[in-house]
């Protein structure tokens, strides 16, 4: 038994230490930004804050929450995420189910499969897509953000594999009972596919919340920016020109503690959603990836 040897025990101690350190390393930046956001602005500006707030106060959050530009962007992000994730989940569930049917039953299946796989490999790039969106008069609308990437082909294939792994007998029994494809999908397959659906939800919700570049291209008016794009502009690029802020507002948003609070609120939805869906996603990915 190797576990009992002295050498292995020494290794084990170091191993636990290294793993714990690596785990901490992944959240230290988040803790640091959280500590700054809850500190008073003087110690924060003097760089006295480490992992714990100095002179604890919530002023930066009050300021952030009283900033109408921030709040508007926040709600746009919520709306965009809800709409985008709903569209993606609906489209890939329906598509994944249809593609999971055998070619003997559904002759056109392989043609459809190629149609989608092709789009995974080839794309026109930024400019042609931009031209299409402009010609569809989608500029400055939420549709320019939620529609172009809504068919997540890879996730659709994962779902397809998941549906395929579901025992055929269930479908046949439902069919005997007189169910059609739509009720088989919603009453038989979906309840069984909840781990996979949870995984896809995590990815699409997080993906929509985090997306920032598309709005930089397709939205001209900063008042329609989602939060990630808004923060990208004012915190990362430090470009206030679009905002036309008055002196007071400018002083507020360029404060280190307020920046930290904005970043933390920006990450918060992901931090909240993640633990709930995390236990599903490893299972979902592995199950979906396994082929028969």
């Amino acid at each position: 038994m190797y576990q009992k040897t002295f050498g292995y025990r020494v290794f084990s101690v170091f191993n636990y230490l290294i793993l714990a350190l690596a785990g901490l390393l992944c959240i230290i930046p988040i803790i640091h930004i959280l500590a700054i956001s809850f500190s008073a602005s003087a110690p924060a500006n003097a760089h006295l804050v480490g992992m714990w707030p100095v002179d604890f106060n919530t002023e930066s959050y009050t300021k952030t929450m009283n900033n109408p530009n921030f709040l508007r962007a926040f709600w746009i992000s919520i709306g965009r995420t809800a709409l985008g994730a709903s569209i993606t989940l609906a489209v890939i569930t329906l598509g994944g189910y249809a593609l999971s049917k055998d070619t003997t039953v559904f002759k056109a299946r392989s043609r459809y499969a190629w149609y989608f796989v092709f789009t995974m490999w080839f794309s026109g790039g930024i400019v042609p897509l931009y031209i299409v969106i402009r010609n569809l008069h989608m500029m400055n609308t939420i549709w320019a953000l939620v529609l172009p990437g809504s068919v997540a082909v890879f996730n659709m294939i994962l779902l397809m594999n998941f549906f395929r792994a579901t025992p055929k007998e269930l479908e046949e029994a439902a069919f005997i009972d007189g169910a059609g494809h739509f009720s088989i999908l919603f009453r038989v397959y979906l309840p069984l596919a909840m781990p996979a659906i949870a995984t896809m939800s995590l990815f699409t919700i997080v993906g929509n919340w985090n997306a920032w570049f598309d709005a930089l291209l397709y939205i001209n008016d900063y008042r329609n920016y989602p939060l990630a794009t808004f923060l990208q502009t004012i915190i990362v690029q430090q470009d206030f020109s679009k905002l036309n802020p008055d002196v007071n507002e400018l002083k507020n948003i360029s404060q280190r503690t307020v920046k930290a609070a904005q970043i933390f609120i920006g990450m918060l939805p992901v931090l909240v959603v993640y633990p709930f869906l995390q236990r599903f996603f490893v299972k979902g990915i592995v199950l979906g990836a396994v082929k028969e």
Binding site: Y2, T5, Y8, S12, N15, Y16, L19, A20, A22, L24, C26, P29, I30, H32, I33, H47, G50, L94, G95, Y97, K101, F106, K107, Y115, T119, W121, G124, G125, I126, V127, P128, L129, I131, V132, L147, S150, V151, P167, E169, L170, E172, F175, I176, D177, V188, V206, W209, N210, A211, F213, L231, I235, K259, I263, M267, V270, Y274, V282, V286, A289
Partner: protein, 321 residues
């Protein structure tokens, strides 16, 4: 499971009824399946296939005012112009160097980490570590960029720690010095991705045949020898697959990350194809040039993906379908 029992019972019925059901047309009634696929087909047509046609502007002198149908045809001029552009060699070098380092580290670090994690028998600890290390993968580079800009500033926490604990006298310009910038880009990418990268290896580790370990144990192999002679050879195929498939990303150095970290000071060492195209192509309105560079990038990526698949097929017997 009521449904299951019903299914088994139904199976008998079905066997007799198969012919009848076919004649009733259920199995051949595929129109609901076509309807289910319709939204995805339309969306992909509008947002992928139509823009593919728009690639033609790479061979035109595209002016938004004239549109695709009335812009002047210039053939390969933009491609020539691209290779004559003074900065382009540096940009391609930066891209390949940063992406290459990311690919190599992105394979080794998760692999080693998965091996270490696999030695942990105390499950709550294992799960906690996993939860923590997967997390950065889900956070946008906008926020990570905001945090790193703060932490890596000349008076930020990293420099403070280096100064107070390690006696480093002058602050290091992590994001203002080209060489440090490359280092930060690769390191922070590994930091963000390594946890997520372990998933595939952990899955493969769970699939290693336990009898191999038992046999090695009987032969008196230490854990180190078991790792070397059983675990690593068992994981090698999946490592080869991951590595070869990553080849296609040799010109994708990570637009989101670099765009949120860089500044004009580090353009010479940190500017990559995607950021270069955004600045010179999109912001300056040279749409045809931007598209031409995009085509060049896709071509290289596509060739490498094909080569990667062939290699994966040859050495690891891997097929995507």
């Amino acid at each position: 499971m009521g449904t299951t029992t019903k299914a088994i019972a139904g199976n008998e019925v079905l066997r007799q009824e198969t012919d009848k059901s076919k004649s009733r047309g259920f199995l051949k009634r595929t129109w609901p399946l076509h309807i289910m696929l319709l939204p995805a087909v339309i969306l992909q047509f509008i947002f992928v296939y139509v823009p593919l046609g728009g690639l033609v502007i790479a061979f035109q002198d595209y002016k938004p005012y004239d549109g695709i149908f009335h812009s002047k045809w210039v053939g390969l001029e933009h491609f020539k112009f691209m290779f004559d552009y003074p900065d382009i060699k540096q940009v391609i070098t930066n891209t390949a160097l940063i992406a290459g380092l990311k690919i190599i580290c992105g394979i080794i670090v998760p692999f080693v980490f998965a091996l270490l994690l696999n030695e942990v028998n105390f499950n709550p600890f294992k799960r906690t570590v996993q939860t923590l290390v997967y997390l950065p993968y889900f956070i946008s580079w906008v926020f990570l960029g905001g945090i790193l800009n703060d932490m890596l500033a000349s008076d930020g926490i990293i420099n403070t720690v280096l100064h107070n604990w390690f006696g480093v006298k002058e602050s290091i310009l992590f994001l203002g010095d080209g060489n440090w910038f490359r280092f930060v880009v690769v390191l922070s990418d590994v930091w963000q991705q390594f946890g997520y990268g372990t998933i595939v290896y952990l899955a493969a580790l769970a699939g290693v045949n336990p009898s191999l370990y038992e046999a090695a144990e009987v032969d008196g192999a230490t854990r180190w020898k078991q790792t070397w002679h059983v675990t690593i050879p068992s994981l090698l195929p999946i490592v080869i697959v991951v590595g070869t498939l990553a080849l296609g990303n040799i010109l994708n150095a990570g637009f989101d990350q670099i765009f949120n970290l860089y500044n004009p000071l580090v353009y010479s060492k940190g500017d990559i194809i995607d950021t270069f195209v955004y600045r010179t192509g999109i912001l300056n309105g040279q749409y045809s040039l931007a598209t031409a560079v995009g085509i060049f990038k896709s071509l290289i990526g596509f060739v490498l993906i094909i080569v990667g698949y062939k290699l994966a097929q040859k050495y690891a017997d891997y097929k995507i379908f």
